[in-house]
Structure formats: C-alpha cells, structure tokens
C-alpha cells in the first residue's frame, strides 16, 4: 500500500531537516514544485510527504561577500535574472535563467530546484501507463535501459540549465544536512548515474550558491531546443573564460551529469572540443537524434569561441 499523502510547510531549514529526519517514509522537499509536481502527475515521484521549503525566507537572499556573490537556493529564476548584482557580474546567469521553461514558471521555479531538477529521458518522462506499456526501464526499477537498446546503464539526461552556467563560473554549493553546513564545488554533487543523479543525501538542503567574484569572467551560453521557449534542453553549453586565460566548458543534456572540460584559451581549441565531445554519453532519448546533438557540440563551442574572440 502506498504511504498516505501529506504536506507540511517548513518554517526554517532546521524545521525542514527535522521533518525529513523524522519521516519514516518517502519525502520530498518542495521548492517551486515545478519539477516535482509534474513528476508526481506522471507517477515518477511517489513521495508521500511533501516538505514545502518555499516559505523559508533565509534562503531567498542575494548578497555579496568580499569574494563571492551568494544567491539563496529559493531565489526564483525570474528574480535571479533581474537582479542587478547578477546582471552586473554574471550576465550569463541571466541568460541561462531566461532560457529555462516559460516566464510564468520562472516566477515559481527556484535556483535550488533547478540544480536538482530530475534527469530526463523520452522513455522515462511519461505516464505510469506509458511506462508500463513500454516495459519499465532501469530508472523505473525495470531490468534494462530501453533508450540504449538494453544496456544496464541509465543515460537519462542532465538538464539543469543553471548548473551548466554556474559550474562554468566555478560556483560552490552550500548545503545543510543533519550533520551541518558545507560548501563544495557545485559539480561535485552530480554522480553521473542516471538513476540517482545527485550525490546529496536525501535530507540535504541546498542553502545557497556561491559564485567567485573578481575573476572577470567572460562567458557565452547556448541552448539547443526546438522551440524558442518552454522546452528542456537538448544541448546546453556554457563557456567561461577568466582573467588568467583559463577556460571552462560545461555541457548539459549530453550525459547524466554536467560534462566539464577545462583548458586554457591559448591551447588548441580543437582538441578541447574533441575532449568535450568524447566526454559525453548520449543515447537516443531526446527529441533530437543523438547524432545531431553530438554534431552540434563543435558548432556551439566554435561559435562561443568566436564570440569570446578566441578564434
């Protein structure tokens, strides 16, 4: 029997953590809920307890320290895109935020939720009826991956657009869990396993994102999708070049985690591109074919290099 459906509004991070700690069944933090509620509708999320953290004001601040811009996890994407400190320092974040979902969704969708938005696959983001008809795949406790024609590995795509941009800016993520607060590089929370893409403990709460100031980043962001709005990514690329000439390429939509390629602006960019391409792990589980998405990587990266006047 499924667990009773409950909903509790958390008043503070501590409250949320203790609700999570005490929960005997499955639970889910709810920030904007724009990802969770769709997954629930499709039967991909059967968490009984929804812990709504959206009312925790402490997580909704944007502030700056000497070294970092700190954006609270509950800052919604619309606000983020409009914030002067963001626009002033990291226009790429504005661009990334504005490329997520639709304007109305961005009023609700939060930064933290975006970073943990579920991985996607055209065989998985389907109703329970559909998945049963297709034969449940690995990610729904079935025996095999359908998209890859039977592999024992899940290739669901990492789709958070914010993460791609943030990682290119060397952002850190500040997390609270029952053990305390830590700040670690954002990329380190992603496992690369399509079934459990996040390495965070399930009680962990994202408090904020820390982005280093004073690197004088110049960045370019691109997203491949069929329509100019609304759609999840088929390929997201962000490239940031810092003042020392270090270049970081981050890609989304091409692996179960963000794919990072580091280099310098002076080395052979073609080899960076081939490194990036070979780090991807794609199958045909997107509206665009795998071959096309792969072919678009060099196109997007070359364009970005041109925009950064690297070539």
């Amino acid at each position: 029997m499924t667990q009773p459906k409950t909903y509790i509004k958390a008043t503070s991070v501590e409250h949320a953590l203790s609700l999570a700690g005490e929960s005997s069944g499955s639970f889910r933090y709810l920030a904007g809920g724009t990802d969770v509620m769709v997954n629930k509708f499709q039967g991909n999320d059967d968490a009984g307890l929804l812990i709504d953290i959206s009312g925790i004001d402490a997580l909704r601040q944007v502030s700056a320290t000497e070294t970092h811009l700190v954006i609270g996890a509950l800052v919604c994407l619309e606000e983020l895109a409009k914030h002067s400190a963001v626009a002033g320092n990291f226009p790429v974040l504005m661009e990334a935020a504005n490329s997520v979902a639709s304007p109305t969704i961005r009023k609700t969708a939060t930064l933290g939720g975006n970073l943990l938005c579920g991985n996607r696959c055209s065989f998985y983001n389907q109703s329970a009826w559909w998945r049963e008809a297709a034969g449940f795949c690995l990610k729904c406790s079935g025996p095999l991956c359908l998209a890859s024609g039977g592999k024992k590995h899940c290739f669901s795509k990492f789709v958070s657009d914010m993460a791609v941009a943030l990682i290119s800016l060397r952002a850190g993520i500040e997390i609270s869990d029952l053990r305390g607060v830590i700040t670690i590089p954002l990329e380190s929370i992603y496992s690369g396993d399509g079934i459990n893409p996040s390495l965070l403990s399930n009680t962990a709460i994202i408090r904020a994102i820390h982005i280093p100031l004073h690197h004088d980043f110049r960045s370019v962001y691109k997203k491949l999708r069929k329509r100019e709005t609304l759609d999840f990514t088929s390929l997201t690329t962000a490239i940031s070049l810092d003042k020392t000439g270090m270049i970081r390429i981050v890609m989304g939509g091409v692996h179960a985690k963000p794919v990072i390629t580091d280099g310098t602006g002076t080395e052979d960019l073609n080899s960076l591109v081939s490194q990036a391409v070979s780090a991807t792990r794609m199958v045909d589980n997107d509206t665009y074919s795998r071959a096309y998405r792969k072919a678009m990587i060099p196109v997007f990266l070359d364009r970005s290099f041109r925009e950064l006047q690297l070539i």
Binding site: Y7, T108, T229, V299
Partner: protein, 935 residues
C-alpha cells in the same frame, strides 16, 4: 486532507484540501470557479494561470496547500460591476478570442506581465517583450497575432498613448455583413463564465476513468473485475462486451466499438471503464482490473500493413485482402501517358509526412445523464448530429430518446468531429448507475484518441511544357489510418481528388491506399486529406519552375483555372480568387524586388492552395437538407435563431446572427442564437469540411428572408403596400417614400397581431453537382476557395535550424461576413501550418506515442510563430450567403509548402519530409556541397 482558508477573488473560503491536490482542482471543483482552464496538467500550456498573492502561477502544478492563507485571483475577478477590465475589453475588441479556452490564462498572464512592460519602448521592442512574456501560453486558434495586439494596445493606452499598431486597417462598412466585430459571446469567454464541457456542474455526478490497453495488438483472454469492484466508491465497471454495437462516423466504416471486445487494436484503446465517486477512486479501480492479453503480431507502419498478413493477424477481419489495406481508390482523367510524353520537363519526388495532432487546447470532456426524456449528453463535439445517431445506434435507443448538447467548445480542427468511445461509455455508465457520469480526458488520452492528420508517404510526378504549362500530374499515395476507419475513406479520396485545382489539368490521376495499423486512429484535421499532397505538388512546381528558369509565381499564374469553369474531374468552379491572391502576396512581400536577391541563408517561398467550401454530399445518405435554421419572433421583438451548427471557436454563432441582422436590418443585440442542441435545434450536419458559413449561413439567410416575407405580407395587408416597396434597415421597416415608417417593435406588433409568435424555417440544399463516374462525389462542393502564401525564412547554415520569420497570405473567402473573424481563421491556419512545417509530429516507439503532451508535441509558441500578414480576397461567390465561402481550412494548404520552398530558396535544400528536420537540412547541404565540388 487539511483544512485551509483561502481568499479567492476577495472572498474568504474554507476548504478541506488534499495534501497533494492541485490548486487548479481546488479552484475549479471546490470553489466552482471554472474560468480557470486546464489544458495539459503539466505546466506546458498556461491555460490554468491564476495569481497567487499577486504573482502569476500555473495552478495545475501548484499545490493547493500553498493557497492556505493566501490570496488567489482568477479570471472571474477582473470584470467589476459588470464592466470588463480594460485588458479584457482589448481582447474582445481586437478579436483575440476564438474558442476562448486559452483566453483566461492568457489574460491572467498578460495582466501580470503588463506592469513590467515599457510603454516608452518602440513598438517592435514592445511587441517582442509581449511575445516573450506570453511564450508559455499556447493558443491553437489565433496565431497569437490579435492577442499580442490586444496586450500592446492595452499597455499603450494605459500609459496614455494612442496606439496605432494595427495593419491593415479594416474597411468600415454599413449594415451587418462585412463589419469587423468580435464574437457575440466574446465577453462571456473573456470573463471566464462561458461554460465548456468540463465546467458544467452536474449534481451528484460520478467520475469515469478508463483502463487502456498497453499492447498495440492483442487478444483479450479475460478480464477480472473482482478487486476493482470491491473498492469502496466504485459504482460500476463496464467492459466491451456490454456495448458490442459498432459505430464510426462514415456508414462504410462502422468498425469501432466503444471498448475493445475481443481484441485491442492499438496501445491506448479502452478496455474497461469505471464510474466511481471520485476520479482518484476511479483511477485506483482501473489499476485493480486484471486483463490477460495475448499479444499478436503488430502492424506499425504503412509498409507492414501492405504486406501479407495471416487471417488471424489482420487488424480487422472485414477486409477483402489478406493484408491490412483499408481502402484503395484510384481515379484517372485524360491521358497521363500522353501528358508525360508531351511534357518538356518532368519531376518525380517522394515525400513523407508524420502524423499530427489537432492540438486543440480543451481536452475532450463529457457528462451524460438519463431522465424521463432519455439520454442527455453535454459534450465537446463538433458534430452533435452524428453523435446523436451513433449514441442511438450503440445504446439501442430510439433517436427520439437522445439529446446531444454542445456547450462552449475549446477548439476542434476536426478532432472533435467523430462520435467517440468516451461519449458512448459515459452514456452507458450513466444508464447503468442511474447517476450522471462525467469524464474528462487527460492530454495524453487526447493524444491517444487522436483522429489527427494521417502519416503519409507519396510519390508524385509532374510534367510541364517549356512554356510552363502543366501537362500531367500523377500521385501515388499511401496513408496510415491507424486502428479504425474514422473519416479515412474520405481522406483517401481527398488525398487525390483535391489536387485537381487550382491549376488546370488535362491529364491527372492518383491512387491512394489507406492502411490500418496498430496505432491510434487518424481522421480529419484542418485541411482534411489535401494538405500533404498539396505540399508535394507545390514543391514539384517550385522545382520545375526553377529548372525551366521561370519565376514560380509566373508559372502558377499561367496555370490557374478560370472562374466559372469545370475541372478535369468535373468540379464546378464558380468564383476563383487564385490570381488575385497570388498577386496580393507578391505585392505585399515585394516578391519581384526581392526574390533571387537575398543573402544566403534567407529565402522566400511561394505556394497556392485550394479547398472545398462544404461537402455537397452528406456523410449519411438521406434527403434531409444539409442545414436547417429556424427563426422565431415573438412580442418582445427578439429574433431567436436556432441552428444545429456547432460553434467550435470559429465564430459560427456570430455568423448566423450577422446574416439575420443583415437581412432584417435589425441590430445584432436583437438576435439570440441557440445552437447545437439536438433537442432544440434543427439538424445541421456539423462543423467539418468547412461547410458551416456556406450551408448554415445560406439556411439562415433563407429563414431571415422568409421572416421578412412574413412581415412584408403583414404590412401589405395593413398598409396596402407592395413588398418590393419595403426597406428593412436600421431597426426600421419603411417604404421608399417613408409614408410607411415603423420601428422594428411596431413591425413586430403588426406581424404578431392576432397571430402571436411567428416561426419560419430556412434551409440549404446543395445543388446537384459532378460527373457520373464512381468516386465523382468526392470533393464535390457548391463552391471552392483559393489562396496563396509567401513565406520568408532564415536558415542557420551551421545548425540547420529554420526560423520562419514572415508569412504573407491571401485567401479568397468570397465575402468576409466578419473580416475580424476571417483574419482570425487565416492567422490561426498559418500558425498551425507553421507547426506542421517546422516542429509538430507524432513520434512512435513500437506503437507507443512518445510525445503525448504539450511539452514534447511542439506547437509553436508566440516566439516561434512568424509575423503574419493576412489579406482577405473577396470574389463574391454567386451561391454563398452574401457571396461568402469558407475561411477556416483552405488557408492552411499553401503555407506549409511556401515555407519549404523558402528553405530551398535560402539554402538549396528540397524538403521532402515533414516536419523539416534540422539534421536533414545539414545532411542535404553537405550533399549539395559535395556534388557542387564534383562539378
């Protein structure tokens, strides 16, 4: 469940809300505020937008619990003291409302957007901001153009500016006909009070949910209902054996049952139906039903189904052949072999088209109940009449015991024109339980119900003379019908016969196969049957014109049929605005100056089109007129128009009122239209084949003229004045010399004296048309429409991405009874065509539809829709009401090939598969480079 207190529209409420309940459900079902619509339930259409503490949210993905101690504003709050909000007024005035289903969400989104807009920005910048802001709200009817106009004018006016952004200015006109006006029910829709099928509360109604097959083709070996029946709250479960009667919209394809009886023919077919106290219980019960299926060989593609099949493997055992071919048609005119020999240049190409969904924003919904009058069903249908017949047949009740009511309807485009299983099932369950039973389909179920455009493959050959005269046309077409017949026999014909215009052809032939496959069935969709072959022909013309070095517009101009002529297959062409249409779009796009002079990557493309204005033959052969309209006038002076015609957002109610108003010279507000209720309204065959303006319009005109005659007679008697002396105008009836001059009320007094209410009945019967060969009836219409489009595209040569930037279109609708509505139809058609060209497709994996939601089925948003410039061409059809003919479907034909031809013009890639795939563009560009390098 938790107790929550919410303020909605200023009024405090206490609700018991489910912990995981959605706000949209709370607002609609508990607060009863059904102005908030639900179109997708997954955050991808915007229909459910409301304000939560002043911020726009999608209520379908917002937990109801979030409303606790919050303020919700829904569409119903906007109008104050009977006065529309200024933004609502703009939506009404600009004609931004068609079916109205997206409207509440659109208005709420625009309302929250408006304060962020900079009224000081220049108009293009403002419009771009509005497009961005509304980009999460899908509208399938309007092409967004009038919505964007409404919002921009609102913003500018609120800032105290005089907006002047409309183009082209509509002609002012006197009388009712030709005056641009909003739909008569527009205010009701914009206020959120117009009730759609799922909005109508039935006391004590049970909810119905379906168990659907997970196999594309399987025998049903057993169904065990025990556990499901044991679930508290379950009232009845129905299975296929209870409703074995076959139905189908065409008498020749009665091949469907309400639920699968012995076997399932597609994944998604209904196997059992539960009526329960709540949707959740009904859903849970469905999951407890155990069905043992024995899967058998599935036929999933056209090629599969053309191959031999074992007797026990055939999808339907009725077919004559040992394969799954449903229908073969072939017609030949002239001498194609000779035509080919005479041609100086020929081209033969093969094309492939994916299936399409109508994408109407309102999911199917219905409520049925029985009482002393038999069955009443309130349902989202385009064709109450055929549903009426199907219900009587399958439920085995007399026709006189069935009443079908169509409430406001959120878009159809052909997708609500068949009788549907869910309608029959809820009627059956309502009888079984003695309670009203309601159903609303999820968006996924809408996709599974399908009846959309047939996936098709065709090879088409054309030959022309060196002077550019078409010598021969031959089409070999195969269409994938899915599991059942639907309109498919007609579709099979239309794929061929509707090629015999707008160009003059002497040697023309086609062959079509329609096959059954184990997929959701296909049927009629806007432009029925002719859209894909039109694409092929217009692409061939483009190719041939280039090869003989002739401008493609010139070539088309040379070949147009005349007015008042017969086609090779004996269609009677009366009015024909082909060349005016093409001339118009050439002028507007500055074709002559620009073609051939554009930078690489940009291109212009042209195409023309043609469509029927109502099928001259009824689907079910009988001698009833195609349409009957009644008028009644009583002491109060109001003229009641009753008609079976189904307004599905195209504006037919308004059209009827306009015609009556014009004939009787009375104001529109003296007219009341009651439509699409099979008990109260006389039969009209329904809203399909673009027949309503022509046929119901003519019937309304006939009725109004009869009423005029009745009044004239009464005047003759009273004033001894000849009928020919009387003028009906400006709410008065008067003689030329004004010796008799009565107000409308006085005229009504004279008419009703010693007689009381007067009723008259008008009708339309199509003239006898066509040749006397087999198949001659297909595509016969009392009138045809013509049009042309030029589109402009930008192709990204590195990514293959195609951006359609402009569409200039012209359509000959005979006479625009309501130019605002005609423009709306044209803009909507070109938006929908753009979707088919660049992004829409139904993709399957082993018979399972992948993209069964509005996130993955890609209807163009505001940002993907080109700038649309609509021109109305008026040719005054001799038989249309006031010269009018259709405007709802014909316009979609030219836009799709115009886009593809523009792509060729931009990058030299001939599109032979829809939707256009970026990947294919790149591959073909590469091929071109290689072959160029070889030369």
């Amino acid at each position: 469940m938790q107790q929550i207190s919410v303020t909605i529209n200023g009024r405090p409420y206490q609700f018991l809300a489910g912990d995981h309940e959605m706000l949209s459900h709370l607002i609609r079902e508990k607060a009863g505020l059904t102005g908030t619509k639900v179109g997708c339930e997954q955050g991808s259409c915007g229909a459910c937008t409301v304000l939560l503490n002043g911020k726009a949210v999608l209520s379908c993905i917002t937990p109801a619990m979030r409303a606790h101690q919050a303020e919700i504003t829904t569409i119903e709050a906007l109008a104050m003291n009977g006065q529309l909000h200024k933004l609502q007024e703009k939506f009404v005035d600009k004609g931004a409302i068609q079916c109205g289903f997206c409207t509440p969400g659109m208005v709420m989104t625009a309302l929250s957007l408006a304060p962020e807009l900079d009224s000081e920005a220049d108009i293009p910048a403002l419009i771009h901001r509005i497009k961005k802001g509304l980009s999460g709200n899908l509208c399938r009817c309007t092409g967004y153009k009038k919505i964007i106009e409404a919002v921009s004018e609102y913003v500018l006016e609120t800032a105290g500016k005089n907006p002047e952004i409309r183009e082209p200015a509509l002609q002012p006109a006197t009388g009712a006909v030709g005056v641009p006006r909003p739909y008569i029910e527009a205010a009701k829709k914009v206020r959120g009070v117009a009730e759609y099928a799922d909005d109508i509360a039935s006391k004590n109604a049970l909810h119905c949910k379906f168990l659907r097959s997970i196999h594309p083709h399987a025998l049903i070996e057993g169904i065990d209902l025990t556990d499901a029946l044991g679930l508290p709250g379950v009232h009845a479960i129905a299975t296929g054996k209870e409703l074995p009667g076959k139905f189908g919209v065409l008498p020749v394809s009665q091949d469907e049952t309400a639920m699968a009886v012995d076997k399932v023919r597609y994944a998604g077919e209904i196997v059992a139906a539960v009526a329960a106290d709540t949707e959740e219980i009904a859903d849970a019960a469905c999951r407890l039903i155990k069905v043992s299926f024995r899967p058998i060989r599935a036929f999933l593609t056209i090629d599969d189904s053309l191959n031999d099949a074992g007797e026990s493997e055939k999808i339907h055992d009725t077919g004559k052949f040992n394969n799954n071919i449903h229908k073969k048609v072939e017609l030949r005119f002239g001498d194609q072999r000779k035509g080919l020999e005479e041609a100086d240049m020929t081209a033969k190409m093969s094309f492939e088209f994916d299936g399409l969904s109508h994408g109407f924003t309102e999911p199917h919904a219905a409520t049925a109940y029985w009482d002393e009058n038999g069955l009443t069903i309130i349902t989202a249908t385009q064709v109450p009449h055929y549903l009426h017949r199907a219900l009587a047949k399958v439920l085995e009740v007399p026709l006189s015991r069935v009443r079908v009511i169509k409430p406001y309807l959120g878009g159809g485009f052909g997708g609500k024109s068949d009788p549907f299983p869910h309608e029959i099932i809820v009627a059956h369950l309502a009888r079984k339980t003695g309670r009203p039973v309601r159903v609303r389909l999820s968006r996924e179920e809408v996709f599974l119900t399908n009846h959309g455009r047939h996936p098709s493959k065709m090879t088409v050959e054309m030959g022309i003379s060196a002077e550019g005269i078409i010598r021969v046309l031959d089409a070999d077409v195969a269409i994938d019908g899915g599991a059942y017949g639907s309109f498919g026999v007609v579709t099979s014909y239309y794929n061929g016969v509707l090629l015999q215009a707008p160009y003059k052809l002497d040697n023309f032939g086609f062959r079509t196969y329609r096959v059954y496959t184990n997929k959701p069935q296909c049927g009629a969709m806007r432009g029925h049957g002719a859209v894909n072959p039109r694409f092929a022909v217009e692409s061939l013309i483009d190719d041939l014109a280039r090869r003989i070095n002739m401008d493609p517009c010139t070539l088309r101009m040379k070949n147009f049929l005349d007015s008042n002529t017969l086609t090779v297959g004996q269609y009677r062409i009366t009015s024909n605005g082909s060349s005016e249409s093409l001339e118009k779009v050439m002028e507007q796009s500055r074709w002559r100056e620009r073609i051939g002079k554009m930078e690489k990557g940009r291109g212009l493309g042209v195409a023309c089109g043609f469509f029927i204005s109502g099928s001259a033959l009824p689907i079910i052969w009988n001698e009833l007129p195609q349409s009957v309209v009644h008028l009644k006038v009583d002491f109060d002076g109001r003229v009641l128009v009753t008609s079976g015609a189904s307004d599905i957002g195209q504006g037919s109610d308004t059209m009827l009122a306009i015609i009556v108003s014009e004939v009787l010279g009375i104001a529109m507000d003296n007219i009341f239209v009651l439509a699409a209720d099979t008990l109260l309204t006389p039969v009209d065959l329904g809203s399909y084949s673009s027949r309503v303006t022509f046929m119901a319009g003519n019937a309304a005109k006939d009725a109004a003229e009869q009423l005029k005659t009745e009044i004239s007679r009464a005047f003759t008697k009273k004033f001894n004045i000849g009928a020919e002396d009387l003028i009906f105008s400006e709410n008065r009836v008067f003689s030329h010399d004004k010796t008799v001059d009565c107000s409308w009320m006085e005229a009504v007094d004279i008419l009703t004296a010693k007689r009381g209410a007067v009723s008259v009945s008008g009708k339309y019967i199509s003239p006898k048309l066509g040749g006397d060969f087999k198949g001659a009836g297909a595509g016969l219409s009392p009138s045809y429409t013509f049009g042309a489009c030029i589109s402009e595209v930008e192709v990204d040569e590195e990514t293959g991405y195609v951006k359609v930037t402009q569409v200039w279109g012209a359509h000959d609708c005979g006479k625009a009874l309501n130019p605002l509505a005609v423009e709306g139809q044209l803009e909507g058609s070109w938006h929908m065509g753009t979707g088919q060209a660049i992004s829409e497709q139904m993709t399957y994996s082993k018979g399972l539809l992948f993209n069964n939601n509005f996130l993955e089925y890609k209807i163009p948003t505001t940002l993907d829709t080109p700038d649309i410039h609509a021109s109305i061409i008026e040719t005054i059809d001799p038989e249309g009401p006031f010269g009018a003919k259709e405007a709802g479907e014909g316009a979609i034909h030219p836009v799709i090939p115009a886009i593809a031809n523009a792509v060729f013009n931009a990058v030299g890639v001939r599109i032979t598969r829809l939707p256009i795939q970026a990947e294919e563009i790149l591959a073909k560009m590469k091929e071109n480079r290689i072959s160029e390098a070889k030369i």
